[in-house]
Symmetry: D4
């Protein structure tokens, strides 16, 4: 978490979501995007939710990343309470494997958008990249870091797959 004024607020519904969201936080750190990380439970701490969302813009945040699982109301309720762009990360749930999380986040009614990413770790990383892409529109430093990140990613794709020790696969 950067010491600079956070530009991205990453919130999650519970401690258990951190195992997913931390991959997003690490990506923000790699891109040197100042950010903060908080637990805000829509259901267990609704007042904290209201305070976090309604104060976010004034506190200087520019993008909110919210992850939650199951009946995941956190991203949508944040989006209802702040004009800032909100990106949602469906955390994989136990029984339904995140399909409930995904639908609870992405199927917002017209009027209150949540830009939703993939279920789980990929979604957390991509929420960070999307937040960086938004900030990069007016922050040359982040734009440069993001372009470099994408170039490294492309360069890292080998041309031919290699056999690995654990080659068994269903």
């Amino acid at each position: 978490m950067s010491a600079a004024q956070p530009q991205v607020g990453m919130v999650m519904g519970s401690q258990s979501d951190w195992a997913t969201l931390r991959h997003g936080a690490e990506t923000l750190a790699q891109l040197d995007v100042p950010h903060e990380v908080r637990i805000v439970s829509a259901h267990r701490t609704p007042q904290r939710l209201v305070e976090y969302a309604t104060g976010a813009r004034a506190r200087g945040l520019r993008v909110i990343i919210a992850g939650a699982g199951g009946a995941a109301h956190l991203p949508g309720m944040l989006a209802a309470l702040t004009p800032l762009p909100v990106f949602g990360v469906p955390v994989e749930s136990h029984a339904l494997k995140g399909m409930d999380s995904l639908l609870s986040i992405v199927q917002m009614p017209a009027g209150v958008p949540v830009g939703t990413l993939a279920i789980g770790k990929a979604g957390a990383i991509n929420a960070a990249l999307l937040a960086a892409a938004v900030l990069a529109l007016t922050d040359e430093r982040i734009a440069t870091a993001l372009d470099a990140w994408r170039e490294r990613q492309t360069a890292a794709v080998a041309l031919v797959p290699v056999d690995e020790g654990n080659a068994t696969q269903p």
Copy 2:
């Protein structure tokens, strides 16, 4: 809507949900359960949501019925903000036919329950019956009305089906 002090607060996310929820209101009226009906949008009127939920118990409400569709956050957010029992009605959505509404309402995390009914009209009627069953525990008049309602329902089931004009069926 009864003139007496409402015991059931029926809320819905938008005007369009009324076509579903009204079947529940009619059932409450049949059972002579005092109730009120309100539109409270979790996403478009989040402050109204907070006020409605936090004031419900003090205003004398005893049960809340909440219906919403899509990423349906209304029942769960009400349940987060009031200790009263909350019953949720998943309204049938356009594309996903209420599966999104159902999962968004029923898959609440441990700690904040929403008693969820079926998708659509059946769920609205059943939310009313369940609310009446709760009130009937300590209200002899409602208990009697509910018992009679159930007896009439049983008596109304014919023994043999009858052919109807529109017999085509897929």
Copy 3:
């Protein structure tokens, strides 16, 4: 299980459901709600089902919690046979992960309601909390216990997530 006259009857379809339902029983115990726990299989002991349901109100029960998996008929059949409020807990099934249990419980036709909770452990805990919320309407002691439980839950949510030993996550 309290020694007092049980107010909540918790039933399940088989011994294997106890691993899920016991979390609900523990929650009832935490709230000091008098309850009993029974195995009642709709399919293997249908006569026991009829006897349990038809005698429940007269025996002093006020709420029934029923958990079952797969083609889960127990909650709905109880609701058909007693005017008491019935709350259903879909137990996670092996192949379909509880989606079959959920739909079998929640999609009740108009006329016979089952207030359905989430699949699995969360649903069991929430069924207990919802039963307590119903009883709390007219039982000051349970109301106080439930309010305290909810306050402790809110207070227990940390502001910032902590890294844990097993940080790997898919």
Copy 4:
């Protein structure tokens, strides 16, 4: 419905299911299988369900066909209460298109079988054919009728499709 002693009992959860089940009754009639048709609602007439199922074998029934929709408990509860073979027809439900009906019927736990057919009209016809196939094992007349029915069916399949008036198709 034949005047002879019914060998197949066809039951359905409500009048509205008749639009589906009647196709099965017509098939039984085509095969000259003596049968009766009844409405038995597991949820609205549970006592009728118990009486119908427990008396079926003694009354001379040999196969039961049961159709229901949504949280369809009728086939499974009949199977719990009679040793006769029970075949289930998932009636197409409004919101979930019979997926809830199908899972509620087919996912029975070990110990109480329901032989489940397809959702809707095809399932109703096939339940009749399957009941006839069971009776045909020891009834030469039905065996002959069923063989002829199957031969006619095979013979009726044209070799080349023909264009029809309403050729538009999505």
Copy 5:
């Protein structure tokens, strides 16, 4: 497998299905129902499929139980080729957990029925019980065995669940 003339033919699509179907074979053995067990792959041994199905009735078989996974065509193709009652067991598949198996078996078009049981082990046991119920219609010995099996099953349901060593549950 009984030495007597087999009355039930149990077939499966591959060796790997035996882990599921064997539970059905064990149930047939418990009920002393003469049966045979074969591997018949609709896709890898289509000629064996044709031979098995077209010769089944003449060989004295009275019921066929067929289990397969994924795009499970075995039960339906058998039903297309024999007038005997066919009961299908959807074997749990790797990726889709048997939902593909279930739909491939149950959704047969009008004209060719497959009585479908639950996904996996429960379905295999229930296919055996359903086959026995069919045979019991005209075989007093099997009828008695089946009634006893069902009574033992009912009697084996404890009234109260017991805590077990491995009490953790998701």
Copy 6:
């Protein structure tokens, strides 16, 4: 249907599938690919299925397109009985909208492939295009026709959408 020796055999499970498959036949005609069209029901005409599939290569067919709905066994059974490439078209079913058709066709076990296209009309057209692409590998005339078809398709995509009379959309 071309008068030349058919190279593509298009088969479907019933007359009702023609409304879908005809779009594929029209595409084959546009590309001037000699083809034949037949109804072959895996379930109602299994012997016709065996004859068609086992004789296909000797008769000079080079690709088979097979469309069916519900528990769609036709494509897979053809693929079991001929070494020719088989392409499957899942026809949209009534209740489950072709999801059953799709899984019944695509989830073939290792050893017997069916190249599966999209549900419905798009799949029928694409099966024709894929068959043409296969033939085009060694048929210059078809290759030229296919390239031209693809170029026309690309050229036909307007740069800017136009408003249409029926602009309402859900």
Copy 7:
């Protein structure tokens, strides 16, 4: 479409998607956000896709909104080819009602994000609002327009539902 330098590029896979996307274009117009509208088919005009995406940033675009249905590859491929933020709108498909569109858009692998909105019209409107929220971070005029839009939306929610002519509802 504004005459000013477009800041938002709205693209769709085909003319038929315009019935959905136009609601997003109208929302952008209401907020006075300069934008352009184009048809870019990933599958039928892949070169146009490459050109549009690779030139977008240099042409002054700041956000891309992309809508497509079925196997919807347009949003993801655009995101692969431009560092600009891409928001995806799953267009409702015929058979699978947009579930295929949704999963094809939202389940992007780590490294290439698409912020995904709801299926259909609501998603199109919300993509426009999210794009506006991004631009509003550094454009006071758009920020003011967006705040006003949200306030009007909140103010437009009536407190009590009204009966309407077409009150029937499933």
Copy 8:
């Protein structure tokens, strides 16, 4: 990988897909079909995708096999850029078990076909067999090898299942 001029190009979206696709490569090797194996990520290496697809026919490739997971755009984008037949293998994804991969590959719009195989290892093997079947149309050596492969497969199916050490099964 054969030293001869490759006729089949097998590509996959990432190194992790190799655990699935290698089963297809092994099958091609068993049939002695000259092939090459490459990693081509539609999202991380879009330019490599364009080059691979547009150059494939000129380089002498005749069939392309493409495997990818999640929002799997690789097969469809290849099919958009080459007239060669493209066969798609949905790789099993973590959360949604390959249902997302399947729908992203199979639900292509009319005009650009991808012949889709089963999710996972079975699909990889079958893509190889289908590619061989296409080549076998004009390559006697491959036709002979494929026929032999299929005969060995049929011969390898035992008539009776055998008990195995690990007989437990859910």
